[in-house]
Amino acid sequence: MDKVLFGDNQFFAVNHLSDEKSRAQAIRFKDDSAIIRVLDQAIELGISTFMCTTHDRIANICDHMRANPDKYRGFKIYPGMPYAHKYANAVTELGIIGTIKQYVPGNIFSTFAKGGMAYLSKDFLKLMEILIDAEMKMFKGISTPVIFIQNVIVDMILGLKAYDAFRAFDDYIRRKYNAEPGYITMNMPALLDALNSIGITNPIICTSINKIGFRMSGGREIYEKYLREKEFRPIAMQVLAAGALKPREAIEYLGNFPKIESVLFGASSKEHIRETKELIEKYL
């Protein structure tokens, strides 16, 4: 994995510190061309991995990349699925079954429907595979060497102790996409223990790591202990603690943990991208 992974929160009005800022971002990135412009700037600065959710608009970015193969040669995307708010809002309105009906591709669902819900219920893992394929469709022809499940799903599975779902995800991503499975979580120590308990070793885990312990469940100490002692491939996210930390002190802190392989960050201006990238390369 590259040391520097460019994220997409800024494009989709995700700001953990201010609703006002997220509206400003929504206005600025209304057009896909604005997203592409910033991505291109990141590429000019030598960044070659984009980690993004499976937001509808990413499909347009993928179209653009496919249409310009020379420009994006060697560029990689790490998809994180699903775009959770799409499902969360749908569940509020349609319920869980209604949401499955809405998002499982029509013809495939009718295959299930023929066998009835009883058939579907016996084959949750098949349903998971169908949903993964539906989310992955937009990346056809684009290099996706690592594929993540988003934290809401990871942490839900973790909480329910439904670890077989991790096993199935892991196997399917390797088998079908010839890619490395990755896990985004807000509960890193518990997740690593869970994955190890079912024989998944040295997993790629993307998790909040910052000096003030923001979104580090169970506290900073246990995270630091795991970063020093356990075997896994950490990607640090929320390193600026949603903007509460200055970039230099934030990234200097990450330098204490040589195990951290990559840092995920998002920024909207070329200057910020440059500054953060240089700091990561200096301290990591």
Binding site: H16, I96, L160
Partner: protein, 337 residues
């Protein structure tokens, strides 16, 4: 270890299950739902026992507490059954569709000395908690006005739906979204007693309201505005905010930040004149397990703590939730005028 059960495995029920199961003081022994699909999934992937009848679950499992996360119209029989069997009860919001049934649940819980809490989770978001503290300490002086708002993209096009689109089952923006805002206003600023000019507007839904606009008058005589719309797709997810204006300044609060403006410095609070911004990064309540927001775990931690101590919680009691139901009833009545 406390033994817990959950009734209703929709979005909130599953989310509670994932938070309760790993809790260090709790053993989630059983869950109950009527969907065989959901129950099959739980049976297949977790070690949790499943029931399709809540009475059987409560009778057989000797639970210390139960979480009721079913559509609102089912709260009354389920909560009542649990309370009668001496089981501490956490109930999702809104609490009840009928004031009479709500009153019965309140008195039963209080009479049986059972810990009772409702899922108005915003009170466990650090920013709203800080807003409450500041307002109670009188930092803004005499209050002049308030605005309570929530917007989000739940129903953004015309189509049918689930129980949330059925007014008889507790669906609609008033019950689902506005209840949160009313509850915040009630607990942070004061109890609304009338809702002049209340409007329930349909935008895309056929049978329920998609937006709620009203003036709210509080017990203290203070008035303010309620503005809630769940058909606003300019928001990525539900966004709730409270603005309070007083003679000494103003505070704008949402789940991410608290913007305080003071006309004069406040030495006790160490706040300057002009704007001070407090961020959630400094105010978030630490939790051992995180799913969708610290507040969901923090409210369960609070409930579990009080069950262990066998003493009533002061935050989000049935009684407080019933007050919110009363305000919603006032708004509904007023909107029909």
């Amino acid at each position: 270890m406390l033994k817990a059960g959950i009734i209703g495995l929709g979005k909130m029920g599953l989310s509670h299950a994932a938070i309760v199961a790993p809790h260090k003081d709790v053993d989630l022994v059983a869950v109950c739902d009527t969907s065989s699909l959901i129950l099959d999934g739980i049976r297949k992937f977790t070690g949790i026992k499943v029931y399709d009848d809540y009475r059987k679950m409560i009778d057989s499992e000797k639970l210390d507490f139960v979480i009721v996360a079913t559509p609102t119209k089912f709260h009354f029989p389920m909560v009542k059954y649990a309370l009668e069997k001496g089981v501490h009860t956490f109930c999702e919001k809104p609490f009840s569709l009928s004031i009479k049934e709500g009153e019965e649940m309140v008195s039963l819980a209080e009479k049986n000395n059972l810990v009772n809490q409702v899922g108005y989770h915003n009170h466990f978001i650090g920013t709203f908690r800080e807003l409450r503290r500041l307002i109670k300490n009188g930092i803004l002086g005499d209050l002049v006005h308030f605005t309570g708002e929530a917007y989000g993209p739940v129903v953004t096009k015309p189509k049918g739906g689930t129980w949330r689109s059925d007014p008889g089952e507790g669906g609609g923006c008033l019950f689902d979204y506005a209840s949160h805002v009313i509850n915040l206003i009630q607990e942070i600023i004061g109890r609304p007693v009338s809702a002049p000019g209340a409007q329930l507007k349909r935008i895309y839904s056929r049978n329920v309201d998609d937006a709620v606009y009203s003036l709210l008058k509080l017990e203290s005589g203070l008035s303010g505005i309620l503005s809630v719309n769940w058909s606003d797709e300019t928001y990525r997810k539900m966004s709730t905010s409270i603005t309070v204006i007083g003679k000494k300044g103003k505070i704008i609060c949402d789940a991410t930040e608290l913007k305080i403006y003071l006309k004069e410095p406040d030495s006790k609070e160490k706040l300057d004149r002009g704007w001070t911004i407090k961020y959630i990064t400094d105010l978030a309540i630490p939790v051992d397990f995180y799913l969708r927001g610290e507040e969901y775990s923090a409210q369960i931690d609070n409930f579990v703590h009080h069950v262990i101590e066998r003493k009533p919680t002061e935050i989000n009691t049935f009684r407080q939730a019933l007050e919110t139901d009363r305000v919603m009833e006032i708004i509904m009545t007023e909107s029909k005028r």
